[in-house]
């Protein structure tokens, strides 16, 4: 038994292990693109380990993948390693901790992240001194029901919401959604443009902690959805000035057979946050027009989540949305673990967005 570095040529074998363990995997071209089109990996090339594998008799029996991300705060850049595709065959389970250790103790990365951890993975990450982010309400997915009949039927079949009285009211009665503001306009796009880079500069002035929103990173992150044209990008203008954009991924929820629109990116400059009311209204209409069953969102800061809930989004607790970070940069400690209301991370800040 040996532990070795993963190579891009290991796709086929990793795909077979995933299938045996009922895990999805991207097609080979999209999978290779995770690294071959990654803006950091392209620059650094061989310096980055794409993952570690357990091999025995020349066969792979376990794997953990390692994806580079760049986060920004106050003009500084931080290199993050995001854990993905962590799977180990039963016979080799005792080495699962070794893989996790290699990921969490790799040199060079400022942050070691998993944002799609189940409860078991969460406990193991914590044993290795990773910590859960302090973000307000991160574990509650927000859902807006478009197809009430289908969701009601699914609820009976166990699609469970946190059904308190407030949520029941939102489910059965129409919520008053704000009408359009004359100065606010939207444009619907299916690709990113250079104007993302201008918006990113404004975010830096706002002293926010965020994963890079520049054109190269957005094109990489949403690569598979861009190729399939499964992406809506809603640009937001106030008095004809670009003040933000929202990204929605079109996907299919297999367990409950729901056609779903997932809001994965909300970039709006702080002083224009009130516009989120209107843009969510626009997204709801977009979902209705295209016959989606639900719209959902994971994460986002309190200020945004409050607007979601006012519009009629319902909370649903999820055991698989634990966001844990091992932080190697002292100056980020407060931002990540003591800043519940301002932290604004979402699925898009880890491998969660690759797996929708």
């Amino acid at each position: 038994m040996k532990i070795e570095k993963v190579s891009l040529n290991d796709y086929q074998e990793i795909s077979e292990i995933n299938k045996k363990n009922y895990l999805d995997i991207l097609n080979e071209s999209d999978w290779r693109d995770i690294w071959e089109k990654n803006p950091y990996y392209i620059k650094k090339d061989q310096d980055w380990t794409i993952g570690w594998k357990i091999t025995d008799k020349a066969k792979i029996h376990g794997v953990i993948l390692n994806i580079p991300y760049i986060f920004k705060l106050n003009g500084s850049e931080y290199l993050a390693a995001v854990c993905s595709n962590y799977v180990v065959e039963k016979k080799y389970r005792s080495f699962a901790l070794k893989l996790r250790h290699l990921f969490l103790n790799q040199g060079g990365a400022d942050l070691l992240i998993t944002n799609s951890a189940n409860e078991k993975a969460e406990k193991i990450m914590e044993a290795f001194k990773a910590k859960k982010i302090a973000q307000y309400d991160y574990q509650n997915r927000l859902i807006f029901v478009l197809n009430r009949n289908k969701i009601f039927f699914n609820y009976i079949k166990q699609f469970k919401f946190n059904f308190n009285l407030n949520n029941l009211a939102k489910f059965f009665f129409k919520v008053k959604i704000p009408t359009q503001n004359k100065n606010v306009t939207f444009s619907l796009n299916n690709k990113f443009d250079l104007d993302c880079n201008q918006l990113e500069k404004k975010l830096i002035y706002e002293k926010k902690f965020f994963s890079s929103k520049n054109l190269d990173w957005l094109n990489w992150k949403y690569n598979k959805y861009l190729k399939k044209n499964h992406l809506f990008i809603v640009k937001i203008f106030d008095n004809k000035n670009l003040v933000g954009f929202i990204v929605l991924i079109q996907n299919y929820e297999k367990t409950y057979k729901l056609k779903r629109l997932s809001i994965t990116e909300i970039v709006i400059i702080k002083e224009k946050m009130f516009i989120l009311n209107y843009v969510l209204n626009y997204c709801i209409n977009l979902g209705k027009k295209n016959n989606f069953d639900v719209i959902d969102a994971v994460g986002f800061q309190k200020e945004k989540r409050v607007i979601f809930e006012k519009i009629g989004f319902i909370k649903k607790k999820s055991a698989n949305y634990n966001f844990l970070i091992k932080n190697n940069k002292k100056e980020l400690e407060n931002t990540l673990f003591n800043n519940s209301e301002e932290l604004d991370l979402s699925l898009t800040d880890g491998d969660g967005v690759l797996n929708l």
Partner: protein
Amino acid sequence: MIISKIIDNTIEEFNNNQNEHKINNEKKFLIFGEDSSLDSLACANFLTDLEKNVLKNFNIDIDIMNAIFTENKDKIYLQDLKIILENQLKK
């Protein structure tokens, strides 16, 4: 309290707090490695309990998980754990 007593107490607590896994308090009990009866979560839970008990008794915050896996060994027995722990406390 001496280290072996802390290990004994942690084993007892671990065995009493769940029914799925049992740690036999023997030098050759395999904590980590092929054929260990502990799965990854059980191993992590036991070592985390051990860290907490060390902190409680010695007021020293150790990182036993990372210390064990930095050893680069395929197998860690209970007797190895005691040595690793002693080395951690000497630091």
